[in-house]
Symmetry: C2
Subunit: 342 residues, 2 copies
């Protein structure tokens, strides 16, 4: 492997001068620069970052720790956001996954420490409260799509499920819906309660009562092996004589099943029943016909901005912005419309 010394020899200068050229230091004569550049190209020299790292004790690498990658394909966007940021910064990204195993997580932290990472993004694939298992290893860390167990122990960034759900509820109210069904997410998910509470609260503020909201539990059980009642419950809900004119679902996967239930009952979306989702998981929301009204989760930006926050923490532990929250925007599409005039 060609080193700085080989280049130096080829260019007839000292290794330090090559280093200066590579790092764009001032006070190098133009023709020296020229000579060195050409030698570098000729030999195909590429600086050894490991060596740099050991001299400067900064690796230029940030790590990503994820938990359950498989179960939620969309939140891969978080990783994409982080990568895009890293790319723009000329940093590199080391990826590790724990599958939710604390023992495995401790190993990951050790590995990260061994690589002398500059910082770590601890990414949760579904939003939840998190207590990083970092042992006594201290690397600047930011939680993404999660919040720290002990408030203030970590910086973090989360989506504003609450606000998004309010926007969704307002959308249905504005369309004129007064009897509304709601299919709840697995209560284990942090977003589940916020989405539901925001929804219920908004409807109540608009004067709707207990009886106007038909709430059903769509999923239950441990993550990755939950039981799914969405189809059954939606079918039941829409078969009732006083069926709601709109059904809001905890996420888009549930909305898909609600579509199927509605269609099998011979109901048309949105003429007979409005269906809305949450997440804007585009593989589903755009594949559904009519396309699905939903709320977009800013996964990419969670990653990007999480990385930005991390950068700040690395530069110097600033105390500001400990817990950032990102807006979830309503995405109105064709699956929502005014209630059928019965």
């Amino acid at each position: 492997m060609v080193s700085i010394k080989d280049v130096a020899k080829a260019a007839g200068v000292s290794d330090k001068t090559v280093s200066r050229v590579v790092n764009r230091e001032p006070n190098v004569s133009t023709d020296t620069v020229e000579k060195v550049r050409s030698a570098i190209d000729r030999l195909g020299y590429i600086p050894n970052l490991a060596a740099r790292s050991i001299r400067s004790s900064r690796s230029g690498i940030v790590g990503i720790i994820t938990d359950y990658v498989s179960t939620t394909p969309y939140s891969g966007d978080i990783v994409r956001g982080i990568q895009a940021w890293a790319e723009a910064q000329g940093r590199t990204v080391l990826l590790a996954s724990t599958n939710g195993d604390p023992h495995r997580e401790r190993e990951v932290w050790r590995t990260f420490q061994a690589h002398r990472l500059d910082g770590v993004l601890h990414v949760a694939m579904y939003r939840r409260v998190v207590e990083p298992e970092n042992g006594d290893i201290h690397i600047p860390t930011v939680l993404v799509n999660a919040r720290p167990k002990r408030a203030g122990s970590f910086h973090s960034i989360e989506p504003d499920d609450f606000g998004g759900s309010r926007a969704l509820a307002r959308h249905l109210l504005e369309l004129g819906h007064r009897r509304i069904g709601y299919i709840r997410l697995n209560p284990l998910l942090l977003g589940a309660n916020e989405r539901y509470e925001a929804f219920r609260e908004t409807l109540q503020e608009a004067g709707l009562g207990q009886a106007d909201l038909d709430v059903r539990l769509g999923m239950e059980g441990p993550i990755g092996e939950e039981e799914n009642f969405v189809f059954r419950e939606t079918t039941a809900m829409l078969s009732a004589p006083d069926r709601p004119s709109a059904v809001a679902c905890g996420n888009d996967e549930m909305a898909l099943q609600a579509y199927l239930a509605a269609l099998q009952l011979g109901l048309r979306v949105p003429q007979d029943v409005t269906i809305v989702g949450f997440d804007d998981f585009r593989t589903i929301s755009l594949a559904l016909k009519p396309e699905l009204t939903t709320v977009a989760l800013p996964y990419f930006d969670l990653g990007w901005q999480g990385a930005e926050i991390l950068d700040g923490v690395i530069a110097g532990p600033a105390e500001s912005g400990r817990n950032r929250s990102l807006e979830c925007r309503l995405v109105p599409r064709a699956s929502s419309g005014p209630p059928h005039q019965a």
Copy 2:
């Protein structure tokens, strides 16, 4: 940062002895090991892999280059497979993405070279022919879910779309279907043609003629911004008087739209029409009711086995198994049944 020398001092031995303990070398007395171990724990020493890397010129890191991560969420499983393997090997994974930009890809290769990666997995998110833009950088490389442009230039591993599609066609024939619809994938995808050809061929071998197979194009246009005709075409196909008793779709996302089309026409799956997909993208295939008969793509194993092959290439450029192919298994579920006895 605590180094091997700090540990040596604390334990009252030489740094080399600490190194021996850390690397489990023989011929160290048990109580020396004990002393050193305790010092390591006390100080929280973790070996610096960068330093190790510069001495041994092997980093223990493998890189993943992906192209379009966003468009195909399921193939994130490939990355999971690679990670799982790396974890088992005590290696680490560096992740980079090109978004299909050749310029960006060259940068990635430079970065990988700068980190002195042991090997690279060049992962395509949809199966295709690939020519890595690695400039004059030579790191052991394996193509995953892709095949090299110049045969033999790289080792590679791909799914056997052809075999999977044959199995699917046979499944429909065995159920008794004799009029079959087929919704084709975007012809840009390598899998598209193989799937279609295998399907057509299998039906022909069984004696079905041109007229028994209704083929429609479901998608067209550049990846990520293709036009989607699936819903329209399926609706047309199923509205025809001599409608097929089964519809096979190029992938599960298309199958989802075929479901919607069928249901909106008042057809029941599978009593009135059988619908099958391809990919076993479980977010869809399991959410559909009835659950979708499909063909599972071995994404996880593509990653894992691709990594294994890479390991072999790193160890010594073995010439065997240049181009491995992995079986795609039929996953029979409830969406396929015998044709309706009209």
